[in-house]
Symmetry: C2
Subunit: 367 residues, 2 copies
């Protein structure tokens, strides 16, 4: 039911096909995030029109509202949110650990209080898997601990816990129509990352994720960590870099052998009036766009750039119209989805490096 | 360039075709409102998918932001907002008179302060036409005074002013590719409405609007006023009932010979979580919909009802997701657009009355 076909490699960059119960995913791929079973401000039809292949949804949020049992009674997330292509759910771990003082971790799991009403809840590896089985995504994630990147002692402890929990997740998993990915942790410490990559690789996961990056470490530390981990992860399984989604990071991740990415950045930036482009981010609220007849990006083929001027988008922002977020979300998601498709073509044509160089030279690290 | 073909009548109900530079409008018709050059939360593509034929935009709002000169430099509203079908602009009168203490009316026009920054501005019939010529809609409206419905002395004065201004608007108009509609005023006083309908009918307008209704008067007063006015307005020109848009009002307006309607209600209700249905309004935030697998309306063919459950919409509202407003706006606008199309078919089949009776019996006056 799940098969990863590594079709072409170009240096460390890879073009592949991952088969799931809801269709094939052509990699490298960017996965937009539908936190609460909706990609903010967009309909599923708009996502299909952008050629989005797979969405991510968040277990923590859906656990709180509307609850996994309800979603199960609606035949799972696909039916509930009307998305008939593949879905990936995270384990809830990242959100729970982000709660800070509201959570307490022990060897068995995490007790936390809801950010909504303060009510107390508990996630363990078994519970995280059970919830994800009710949600019914095609790809589900092991329950891991994502710790601060620079505390070696704590990071090691969190990594070891993550390993134990990975084993428990594999054991707890019952459904055969879901692929469970293991997650490599270890902060920015090469020896921990190596250890984690070996441990997770040794288990029977159909895919591997790299967690705990893009959480405050330097760009150099992130990329070096990818080098360390991807040297160890088996090439015949897909590799997913969690929570990462700038143009720069997609290119540098793919260059280092990553196949899958997700990030809230495109929609979050859109709600804050920023457009992602190959020349960096543009603050579309800027008064200098008042009379600008050009689209956000002349070369972009998204619905927004095909039909609307910067002046119109700036007008929508200026008048606080919801359509501003929609048009910018369309542009930003399209940009990353289209980039991953273009890179795939370049990998297949054995031209990744010069293509990547062409893009990177106009970008700074944060774009 | 503008031609109204009264195709079929069924009692006082009428099916017609109004030709404009941006295409034909088949009447009766409901026109969604794009106040600030956007129908809130929807893309033009979504409006086309709903078979929307014509949009309304507001001169007052567009005058303030982004300004008529800017829109003119973008080749008018159609190009600016990417809507290639017909557009109607109001004259700004209704919004200016709604400003209350912020405006002062004299024989020549109105001086008002912007609701945004308090800056002082002035509209006269000539200015209202000049702005609308810059905006470039297919149908533009005479500058009128919409007064409180129950003060006979003031209403008469406002009506007389509206008549003088109508003459000035006709004289001021320069563009031949825009149809200027005259507006009948006169509150809820039959003798004033008769006088106004005769006066406005006597002038050379290609279409007539009925203003000053649905502003606080009783439903009975509104419908009686329509009877009075439509007995006088010439049948060979289209009739537009301004600012009206419930299911009930569309049916009762069409029954009395109205051809065109506009209202912000479908999108405003959507933002306040209400769905318009043939069984009345539904508050979709209600907890009773938590597990409701049904669409808003089983018989509805809109995108929302074809693909999403009440439970999903209620979840989006509950989690404050923007998609809630989008999906409800789609449903509400579709409902009125689809209703006007169905009524048109029934008129053509000489079956309007029994069709209308079937719908009205399940509705209350405010739905």
């Amino acid at each position: 039911m799940f098969d990863f076909n590594l079709q072409v490699t170009d240096g460390n960059a890879r073009a592949g096909k991952f088969t799931t119960p809801h269709g094939d995913i052509l990699t490298p791929i960017f996965m937009p995030v539908g936190t609460q079973a909706t990609v903010k401000s967009l309909t599923p039809r708009q996502l299909e029109e952008m050629d989005v292949q797979i969405l991510l949804a968040n277990t923590y949020h859906l656990y709180l509202r509307p609850g996994p049992d309800l979603i199960k009674r609606f035949n799972g997330l696909h039916a509930f949110m009307h998305w008939n292509k593949p879905i990936l759910t995270d384990s809830g771990g990242f959100q729970v650990f982000s709660l800070g003082d509201l959570r307490e971790v022990d060897a068995d799991g995490v007790t936390f209080r809801s950010h909504l009403d303060g009510s107390t809840h508990r996630f363990t590896p078994e519970i995280a898997i059970a919830i994800q089985e009710k949600l019914g995504a095609d790809i589900i994630m092991a329950f891991d601990e994502c710790a601060h990147p620079d505390d070696h002692v704590y990071i090691q402890k969190a990594m070891e816990r993550t390993h134990t929990w990975a084993e428990r997740c594999l054991k707890a998993k019952k459904r055969n129509d879901q692929a469970l990915f293991g997650i490599v942790q270890g902060g920015i410490f090469p020896e921990l990352r190596e250890q984690s990559a070996r441990f997770i690789s040794s288990m029977d996961f159909p895919g591997h994720a790299i967690g705990g990056l893009s959480v405050g470490e330097s760009k150099q530390d992130m990329l070096q960590t990818l080098d360390v981990v991807n040297r160890i992860l088996p090439p015949q399984k897909p590799r997913y870099l969690m929570g990462v989604g700038t143009i720069y990071d997609l290119i540098e991740g793919i260059r280092r052998g990553v196949d899958m990415f997700d990030c809230v950045l495109p929609t979050r930036l859109a709600r804050h009036h920023a457009a992602m482009t190959y020349k960096g981010r543009i603050n579309m609220a800027n008064a200098k766009f008042r009379e600008d007849h050009r689209p956000i990006d002349n070369a972009c083929h998204c619905y927004t750039c095909q039909h609307f001027s910067r002046a119109y988008i700036r007008h929508l922002i200026n008048t606080k119209e919801m359509l501003a977020a929609t048009l910018l979300s369309i542009h930003n998601i399209f940009t990353l989805v289209d980039l991953s498709q273009k890179i795939r073509e370049q990998i297949i044509n054995n031209n990744f490096n010069s293509f990547a160089q062409e893009i990177i030279k106009n970008l700074n690290e944060s774009s």
